[in-house]
């Protein structure tokens, strides 16, 4: 088990290196020149050339990558003298478009995204699994059909539609929540925090709860037909134990898989939801970076998202062994 985790962590490290190389190659491939983009109106060839030296993009791509990797570990300094810019380790690069360290940009954006992801995650897991279990128990009855119909409805709608509808009615038309509230941490102002977060949570939760209720229902129906469920009933166990313990435990594996990856996905940036509700999280940061060709930020956010997905994968695999004793991690 410990050996397995060590090997997986090493593999994760290798994967991250590969990922930085791939994202870094974007610099070389895309036809935009950061030196020209950040040059301003009074642009002269001299300024562009100076910028190229300052950004370190005058050197060959391999050398640039080494500088980037070194910056991650020991920090990095761009330029010298009056134009000197410091980027302490772990330096993910410097955004000359925003005049800030990428690491700092991500540090500011990450708490917003984490709060969004965890709140929505709890909401959709609780709602989705409960609805799924109840539907499975009432299979074919009105409760089942109505909840599965509603689930299909929300599952079919794109998230920007649900988000915009919620935004329009709740904040603009009915004015249930003040329209302009900036994100504040929970411990500073819980009311304002909830006013900002509740709609994004609901938006994400509606989409994902729909998926999880359908997944849970199908899993439950599949396991309820298993022989060991009949054995549990033959023992004289109450139906609630048969379903809540024996059937649910057996149907859990695919739900855990999907949940781990979905949580990682949202942590890596719920681009649309964050943009609609103007939450300055990782998703919004990366979409702005892409729009402005702010390449260092793009690389940084891609890396952060990748770390989440890889770590989630590892955790899911470890959870398999906890749930299913037949899985041996070697």
């Amino acid at each position: 088990m410990a050996g397995y985790v060590v090997r997986r962590l090493l593999a994760m490290f290798g994967m991250l290196i590969a990922l930085t190389i791939v994202t870094f190659l974007m610099f070389a491939v895309i036809p935009a020149d950061p030196a020209r983009l950040s040059c301003g109106k009074t642009c002269t060839p001299e300024i562009i050339a100076a910028n190229r030296v300052l950004y370190g993009i005058d050197k060959p791509i391999a050398e640039q990558y080494v500088a980037f990797a070194k910056g991650l570990v020991v920090g990095r300094t761009y330029g010298s003298g009056a134009t000197e810019v410091n980027c302490p380790a772990p330096c993910l690069g410097y955004s000359f478009v925003q005049d800030e360290n990428v690491t700092d940009l991500i540090k500011t954006a990450l708490p917003v995204t984490i709060n969004l992801a965890i709140g929505a995650f709890i909401l959709f897991m609780v709602v989705g699994i409960s609805v799924g279990v109840i539907s499975a128990l009432r299979r074919g009855k009105v409760t089942d059909r109505v909840s599965m119909g509603v689930a299909l409805f929300f599952y079919s709608f794109p998230v920007f539609f649900i988000g915009l509808v919620l935004l329009y009615f709740v904040k603009i038309k009915w004015r249930l929540i003040p329209a302009s509230v900036e994100y504040v941490p929970f411990y500073e102002d819980p009311v304002a925090y909830l006013q900002v977060m509740i709609l994004p949570w609901i938006t994400l939760a509606l989409l994902y709860a729909a998926f999880y209720s359908r997944l849970t229902r199908n899993q439950m129906l599949e396991t309820l037909g298993e022989d060991y469920i009949r054995t549990a009933r033959a023992k004289g166990l109450a139906e609630r134990v048969v379903i809540g313990k024996h059937a649910f435990r057996a149907g859990l594996t695919p739900i855990v898989t999907a949940a781990g990856l979905d949580l990682a996905g949202i942590l890596g940036g719920a681009v649309i939801t964050e943009s609609i509700f103007r939450l300055n999280g990782i998703g919004r940061l990366s979409i702005q970076a892409v729009t402005n060709t702010d390449l260092p930020v793009v690389v940084g956010t891609v890396l952060v998202a990748a770390v989440f997905v890889i770590v989630a994968n590892l955790i899911v695999d470890l959870l398999y062994a906890v749930i299913d004793p037949r899985v041996r991690l070697t």
């Binding site: 022989d227 009949r230 054995t231 033959a234 023992k235 004289g236 435990r249 057996a250 299913d324 004793p325």
Partner: protein, 344 residues
């Protein structure tokens, strides 16, 4: 003989299907006293497993229609409430299933599953239940039972798993054990061990056993009485000697004749021609009529038009057949002599 412990009277089970109601079991009746073994024999789809699960009340009782009476130790079960049934299941009657790998929960240790079975019905400490579970594992012949308690089902062999199932079935000293094809999924050598174990345990605890099987070897090895089922109905019912030596229903004869035999080399197997009937589309007359070689011997084509009743035959057991008793006995004698190699 003491009073019957289990009485089944006119049991019928009907499932709703998309093609209309499907009557899987019709008018099944038998009795069983403690310490005795009844075998229910038949092909796949003959209704034998449905019957056994109906006794346990394991069908979805909201959807499945059940008629008739099942009386266990004076308690009527067909119309009992869910709660009453649960109190009986696993306590007074227990069931073991065909495939012990799929019948045990893969995610829980066998200890956990055994203790759970005990604690549903008996109020005692977890430690006492654990001690009881270990005793039961010892009793069914599982070596180093204390260590095995922490094993998961997939870590045991098929025979061991079935022993665990038996231990779980017997953990609350049930008076009736229903074994649904208990040896079908096992190796032949292990089959014999499991049957021996069941017979031993029956002697020790005086349990009544219903064994569901299509294996006449199992029947000969453990049963006192036999119910032969075909198309959801009892077609012959008698003592194990009567069924093997004086069978009267052509279907029973066919079953016996189709058994492979060690003492006759180069002899082709003698299967019953045709397929079991579709339960949604049963023949009008005798359900066995399409596969019966002797229906010509019945006058007026009654096999095509009239369902035969289950009647007491001269030999003292019950038979569902239109053939005259003397004709049936003649046919049986001829077939059995041929089987024994009496005809050169």
């Amino acid at each position: 003989m003491s009073d019957p412990f289990l009485t089944v009277n006119g049991l019928g089970v009907t499932f709703p299907t998309e093609d209309g109601p499907l009557q899987a079991v019709d008018d099944v009746s038998f009795t069983l006293t403690k310490g005795r073994t009844l075998a229910i024999v038949g092909e796949s789809g003959s209704g034998k497993s449905v019957t056994s699960q109906a006794l346990m009340g394991l069908h979805n009782r909201k959807a499945v229609k059940m008629v008739g009476e099942v009386t266990l130790d004076g308690q009527e079960l067909v119309n009992a409430s869910d709660q009453e049934l649960r109190a009986v299941r696993g306590k007074k009657m227990a069931m073991i299933f065909q495939d012990p790998l799929s019948a045990l929960h893969p995610y829980y240790t066998i200890g956990k599953q055994l203790i759970e079975a005990r604690l549903v019905h008996v109020e005692e400490s977890k430690e006492a239940a654990r001690a009881r579970a270990i005793t039961m594992l010892d009793r069914v012949g599982i070596p180093s039972s204390t260590q095995r308690m922490d094993d998961y089902p997939h870590q045991l062999s098929g025979g061991m798993r079935q022993r665990v199932m038996i231990a779980m079935g017997l953990i609350n000293d049930p008076e009736l054990l229903i074994a649904d094809e208990p040896t079908t999924a096992l190796d032949v050598t292990v089959q014999a061990q499991i049957l021996d174990l069941l017979i031993d345990l029956q002697r020790e605890f005086g349990t009544a056993i219903i064994v569901i099987t299509h294996d006449l070897g199992v029947v000969a090895g453990m049963a006192d009485e036999v119910v032969v089922m075909y198309g959801g109905r009892v077609v012959e019912h008698g003592s194990v000697r009567d069924i093997f030596y004086k069978p009267e229903m052509p279907y029973t004869l066919g079953l016996i004749a189709s058994m492979p035999r060690m003492d006759q080399v180069n002899e082709r197997l003698d299967p019953i021609p045709g397929q079991p009937p579709s339960m949604l589309n049963l023949p009008k007359g005798c359900v066995f009529r399409p596969r019966c070689a002797y229906h010509d011997l019945v006058p007026d084509g009654r096999c095509d038009t009239e369902r035969p009743d289950l009647l007491l035959a001269q030999t003292g057991h019950e038979v569902r057949c239109h053939l005259a008793s003397s004709v049936r006995q003649g046919i049986a004698e001829e077939r059995l002599t041929a089987l024994a190699g009496g005809v050169a």
